[in-house]
């Protein structure tokens, strides 16, 4: 069975996993962070998950709500453990929230020829991208600590980007297609098919 590694299960990652729960693939969830109360506004977590590791919380929610099994790895992806974390995976999904982690994941995926798709959001919650690694370059924040789209007002766009990502994953699993999309308040536009 195909195994997908979701790297980062915060706003985009947790919602994308939710939409990928019926793909018939094994899901590996990688995130070192813990669920905070404020995360409930824009991330797929419930009150009972506050305080838990995010990867473990998503795993529990998938099991309890849908009977879907997943594998949780509550660690930070780094150069020394990338081989272990991505071992046996057929696809990696980047939902990280920073430039350096995205670069590290790209390097690890390219080194082992692992297909990698990225999803990313603008800080003001008006725009997002889904783009395959061969056409992706991570952006840095304009300033450290820049406001993110973690407030609940951006949840519809976060959901739209997450759903677009899930569709890109679904298309890849079905036919090997690597479609890129751009998501704005105007809608979703395919930029590469």
């Amino acid at each position: 069975m195909t195994r997908i590694a979701f790297c980062g299960v915060g706003a985009l990652g947790s919602n994308a996993v939710l939409y990928c729960r019926e793909l018939g693939a094994e899901l590996r969830l990688i995130d070192f962070d813990r669920v905070e109360s404020k995360n409930l506004a824009a991330q797929w977590f419930v009150k009972q998950s506050v305080g838990k590791n995010k990867a473990e919380a998503v795993r529990l929610q998938l099991a309890n709500f849908y009977g879907v099994k997943a594998e949780a790895m509550g660690v930070r992806l780094a150069a020394h453990n990338a081989t272990q974390l991505l071992d046996g995976c057929d696809l990696a999904v980047d939902c990280f929230d920073n430039h350096d982690s995205r670069m590290l994941l790209s390097e690890a995926a390219r080194a082992r020829g692992l297909p990698l798709v990225h999803a990313a959001l603008a800080g003001d919650g008006t725009f997002g991208l889904v783009r395959w690694d061969e056409r992706f370059a991570p952006d840095r924040e304009d300033a450290e600590g820049q406001a993110t789209c973690e407030g609940g007002e951006h949840l519809p766009v976060i959901g739209l980007v997450a759903a677009t990502l899930a569709r890109a994953i679904q298309d890849f699993l079905k036919s090997g297609a690597r479609a890129d999309s751009m998501v704005s308040l105007s809608g979703v536009v395919r930029t590469h098919i």
């Binding site: 990280f96 929230d97 990313a120 603008a122």
Partner: protein
């Protein structure tokens, strides 16, 4: 020649007139300000757009599978998790 697509404040659209694919990023940003001010993109007409509106925007140059050259001027996307 390439099609220029601009995304600003959540709205996105193509500019009808093609521009030079090899134009510099600075030129793309400068042209984009004029295009948006003049209403050259449907749904994206801001007559008083500041000169530096696109200063922190990213210029992507992509070629479609059909060979079409496209330039995307877009906000940065540093976030995800």
């Amino acid at each position: 020649m390439a099609v220029l697509n601009i995304t600003y404040q959540g709205n996105s659209g193509d500019y009808d007139l093609e521009i030079d694919y090899s134009a510099s990023d600075a030129d793309i940003r400068r042209i984009a300000v004029e295009v948006v001010r003049s209403g050259g993109i449907r749904g994206l007409h801001l007559a008083n757009l500041p000169d530096n509106a696109f200063a922190n925007y990213v210029v992507d140059r992509l070629r479609s599978p059909g060979g079409e050259e496209r330039i995307y001027l877009r906000p940065k996307v540093p976030f995800g998790a």
